[in-house]
C-alpha cells in the first residue's frame, strides 16, 4: 500500500527536480498543484493586464487616426541552410486616409512595389519594371483592403498589424503572454517597452508615451530555431493632409498593364 502512493509522489518530485526525503511527503503533496503552475511560469510568462492595457490604448489610438503617414525603417532576415542569418534593409511607407484611401510603398534591397487604393480600384505597381495591375474593389475599408490583399491576392502588407490592432483581426485574446519590460527610448522618444508572445511569434513594441503610437516593433519568427527577426522603427505624421492624387495611380507611357492572379486562379493553374 505504502509503495503504491509513493511512486506518483516520487514522479512529482523528480519532475520538480527536488530530492525530497520520505518524511517530507506530507509537505510535498500540497506543493504538487504549484508545480505545474511554476513550470508554466517559466515556459510562458503570464499575461500582465497592464501590458494588455497598453496594447489596447495603442490600438484605440491607431483606430482614431483619420489621416496619417507612417514611414518605417525596416530590416528583415533570411536564414540560410547553414544557420547563418542575412539581414536586408528597406523603407516601408504608408499613407492612409480613413476610411478608404490607401497608399503603400515597399522599397527594399531586393524589391520595389507600390500599392494604391482610391476607393474603387486596387493597383499594384513595380516601379523598376514599369508593370502595374489593377482590380476593381469598391466599398472597402483600409483594414479590409489589407486583409483582402493577403487572402485574395497573396500580397503580404508589411506591418499589417497597424491596420488590424483594435479590430476583430487582432484580438488581444490571442496574446499568450504579455510583459512590461519598462521605460525605454527610441531615438529621443520616451516609450514603454513591452514583450508579447502569440501564435508563432515573440514580438516587442515600444509605444510612445506622448502619442501612444508604436515607435518601434520587432517580430521574431519562432518557427526556426534562429528566430529570424523583422524590425521596424516608425515615424508618424498625423498632421499633414493627404491629397486625393496620392491614392490614385496614374500610369505614364512607360508603364504597362499586366494581369494579377487571385487565389482562385492560382489554384486552378496548379494541377
Amino acid at each position: 500500500m505504502k509503495r503504491n502512493w509513493q511512486l506518483p509522489c516520487l514522479a512529482v518530485m523528480a519532475a520538480a527536480c527536488a530530492a525530497t526525503p520520505a518524511w517530507a511527503q506530507k509537505d510535498a503533496t500540497p506543493a504538487t498543484p504549484a508545480t505545474p503552475a511554476s513550470n508554466a511560469t517559466s515556459d510562458t510568462p503570464a499575461v500582465e493586464p497592464s501590458a494588455i492595457h497598453a496594447i489596447e490604448l495603442m490600438a484605440q489610438k491607431l483606430r482614431t487616426l483619420k489621416s496619417f503617414t507612417v514611414t518605417a525603417d525596416v530590416t528583415n532576415e533570411d536564414v540560410l541552410d547553414s544557420g547563418q542569418k542575412v539581414t536586408y534593409g528597406g523603407i516601408v511607407t504608408y499613407k492612409v486616409r480613413s476610411p478608404d484611401r490607401f497608399f503603400a510603398s515597399v522599397d527594399s534591397d531586393r524589391k520595389q512595389r507600390s500599392f494604391y487604393y482610391d476607393g474603387s480600384k486596387f493597383t499594384v505597381y513595380a516601379p523598376r519594371m514599369h508593370y502595374y495591375a489593377q482590380r476593381p474593389l469598391a466599398n472597402t475599408t483600409v483594414a479590409q483592403l489589407v486583409s483582402t490583399a493577403q487572402e485574395k491576392y497573396d500580397i503580404d502588407m508589411p506591418l499589417a498589424d497597424l491596420f488590424y490592432w483594435g479590430t476583430d483581426k487582432a484580438p488581444t485574446s490571442t496574446i499568450q503572454s504579455a510583459t512590461v519590460i519598462g521605460p525605454a527610448r527610441v531615438g529621443k522618444i520616451e516609450c514603454d517597452h513591452l514583450l508579447m508572445r502569440q501564435s508563432g511569434v515573440d514580438w516587442q513594441v515600444w509605444i510612445s508615451r506622448q502619442t501612444m503610437l508604436p515607435a518601434k516593433l520587432v517580430i521574431a519568427n519562432l518557427d526556426d530555431p534562429t528566430q529570424p527577426e523583422y524590425s521596424a522603427t516608425l515615424q508618424w505624421d498625423t498632421e499633414s493632409s493627404l491629397a486625393d492624387s496620392i491614392f490614385t495611380f496614374s500610369p505614364t507611357s512607360a508603364d504597362h498593364l499586366i494581369k494579377i492572379s487571385d487565389d482562385a486562379q492560382t489554384k486552378e493553374a496548379s494541377p
Binding site: V79, L80, L159, V201, N221, K259, S270
Partner: protein, 180 residues
Amino acid sequence: MKSRTLFQALGLCGAAVVGSLCLVMAPALEAAPRGGARGGGHAAAQPRASSRSSINRPSGGGNVNRGGGANRNVNENRNVNRNTNVNRNTNVNVNRDVHVDVDNDWDHHGWDYHPVATAAAVTATVAVTAAVVGSVVHSVPPSCQTVVSNGVTYSQCGSTWYQPSYSGSQVQYVVVNPPY
C-alpha cells in the same frame, strides 16, 4: 524458453535495423526533390526560413497554417506549384529545368534582377532555342523588350515571348506563343 527469448531479441533487432534504415533513408528521400528543385549552384543562397513582417494574420485558418510553417511553408508551396507547372510540360528537358530553377531561386528572395541569375537565364535561353509554352520563369534578361500587342503586354527575348503577370506581389513570366 531460451530460444524463444533469442528469437524475440533477433526480431527486435531486425525491427531496430529496419527502423534505423528507414530513419536513414527518409531524409535522403526528402532531400532529393528539394535538392533537385533548387538547381545546382544557388542552393546555398536558398533561405530555409525568413522573418515575418506582421504579427496577426487576416483569417483564423491562415493563422494556423502560417503559424505552423509560417513563411517557409508558404514559399515551399509556391515552389511546388511552379514545379507542377513545369512538369505538366512532359517534353521539358534538362536545360529547361535548369532555367526555371535558377529563376526560382532568385525569385525566392524577391529579386527583380540579379546579374548571376540573368547570366544563367541567358545561357539557358541560348541552349534551349525554343522555350516550352506554358513554362514559368521569375526573371528575364534585361535585354528583353516590352512589346504591347492587342492590348496585351509581352516581354520579347529573341524568339521567346513571355507574358508577365503578378503572382502575389511577384512578377512571373509565362512563356507564350508569339502574338504575331
